[in-house]
């Protein structure tokens, strides 16, 4: 008898993902345990409009953990706000681990000193993701608004490396980070740390569209992508798996609402962290009821005549239903800026002859919802 089969965890995880997709099991959950933060980042969508009481207590977290455990969740991301500012973070984190979840953490790392680094070495997370905001004290402070934030984060990175704790670095690509992103990437590479970036900026949770001013336009985004990856190798590989000439009228092509979900500090459930449209509350409703509603949402199709329904690049789109929902109010809306970014990429990869989307020459169908006036005013018009 082999009671512990000699299969790799990767094979087992692949088997679980396959079954979760087939049976629509919520394998992964992102949980916001606190909405406030010790940084004042100019692009943030959550903390600037958060109140002190916007946090999840240990008791509330345990309600969520129990429900997710019963539903089959295996991976849990604890995020914020800044999780290390939560007075019960240690208890919440350990409870998540003792529930048998593989636990991931998002943090700005400002508060990770010797004690937290030792704690994480003793109780390592499955994944730790640190937001990086610049490569000098000046640029860091300009973005975070907090003195010494650069020095503190750099020290945290060294403390984690010294203890062999695995983590990755990430930074949003936007007007105020674009110049230093290549240096951040080089820094991560020199330290042997994975680095990633994301090009979508969304409005604040309560509607302020100010952060959209920081969004890179299609040309600016492509110029940056080329600086980070001159031959566009990683995007080329990503696109090769997803562009085959076919189209789909399914709005949600990711795992949101199918194998994953997002839970905010008040128990509100949405498809993912980018979508702030809550469709149910785990403190008040049974999990199955919410999961069924979420399933209905992510099964939606584009209306006839929608440009995305017949786009062969929809699976590599720079936008997604959640970012589109944030800008237009509906997952089935249409944001031409994302379309231009995507076609620009398709052009660079040789998939599209001009890089100009059809809606530029033919117009956007009148029945398709476009960004709200407030969002449109802030989005980049040109490069």
């Amino acid at each position: 008898m082999t009671a512990i089969p000699r299969i790799s965890a990767a094979v087992m995880r692949g088997r679980m993902i396959e079954r979760a997709r087939r049976e629509r099991i919520p394998l992964q959950a992102d949980i916001e345990i606190i909405a406030t933060c010790n940084f004042n980042c100019v692009h943030c969508y959550i903390a600037p409009c958060a109140e002190r009481e916007d946090l999840m207590s240990l008791e509330q977290a345990n309600i969520i953990f129990d429900k997710l455990q019963a539903a089959g969740t295996q991976m849990v991301l604890l995020t914020g706000g800044e999780v290390f500012t939560h007075k019960q973070f240690k208890e919440i984190y350990l409870s998540a681990k003792r529930h048998g979840f593989e636990v991931y953490i998002n943090t700005n790392a400002y508060l990770i000193g010797e004690r937290w680094a030792d704690f994480l070495a003793e109780w390592p997370p499955k994944g730790l993701s640190i937001s990086l905001y610049g490569m000098s004290p000046e640029s860091y402070e300009r973005l975070t608004g907090i003195p010494k934030s650069y020095e503190r984060v750099m020290r945290a990175i060294d403390l984690l490396l010294e203890r062999g704790i695995a983590f990755d670095l990430k930074c949003p690509a936007m007007t105020i980070t674009a110049e230093e992103l290549p240096a951040m990437q080089a820094f991560a590479k020199a330290k042997g740390i994975r680095f990633r970036t994301d090009y979508s900026i969304i409005p604040q949770e309560k509607g302020d569209t100010g952060p959209l001013q920081l969004q890179l336009g299609p040309q600016g985004a492509m110029a940056l992508e080329k600086r980070l990856d001159p031959e566009l190798k990683s995007f080329r590989g990503y696109a090769a798996l997803r562009v085959d000439g076919s189209t789909t009228d399914s709005v949600y092509k990711c795992g949101a609402g199918k194998t994953s979900l997002h839970i905010n500090v008040h128990g509100g459930v949405s498809t993912c962290s980018t979508s702030r449209k809550v469709i149910g509350n785990l403190f008040e409703q049974p999990f199955d009821e919410i999961w069924e509603t979420l399933g209905g949402k992510v099964a939606m199709k584009y209306p006839a005549g929608h440009p995305c329904a017949t786009c062969q690049f929809s699976r590599i789109c720079a936008g997604c239903p959640a970012t589109v929902e944030q800008l237009t109010g509906m997952p089935t809306g249409y944001v031409q800026m994302y379309c231009k970014m995507t076609h620009q990429r398709a052009y660079e990869l040789g998939y599209h002859p001009t890089g100009v989307p059809r809606t530029v020459t033919e117009g956007i169908p009148a029945h398709v919802v476009t960004p709200t006036r407030a969002a449109a005013r802030m989005l980049p018009v040109l490069a």
């Binding site: 008898m1 009671a3 512990i4 003792r98 048998g100 390592p124 695995a166």
Partner: protein, 101 residues
Amino acid sequence: MISGSVDSVEYRRRDNYVYRLTVGEHLLVALHARSDEPLYALTPTGAQLWERLSGWASVDQLAESLATEYEISIEEARQDVRDFLDQLGSLNAVESREPAV
């Protein structure tokens, strides 16, 4: 290595792993291991033994429950239990003690 010859020794699982049955997999999740993959799969039989190891139990006691459940000989069950305890031992997931006299 867990000794296969001293069947009166009692075993109990340590609290450095959590067992879960999820998405059809019997998982043993490490709380402390700083490994890229702190996750192990158990067979249903292994999961049953793991549950039994919440309290102290000897190889014979574990083997008896296995032999009854799966209708196998007690010798075969003893060997299966010893193999399983060896595997758990290599993960530092089980502790042992001499039985009280």
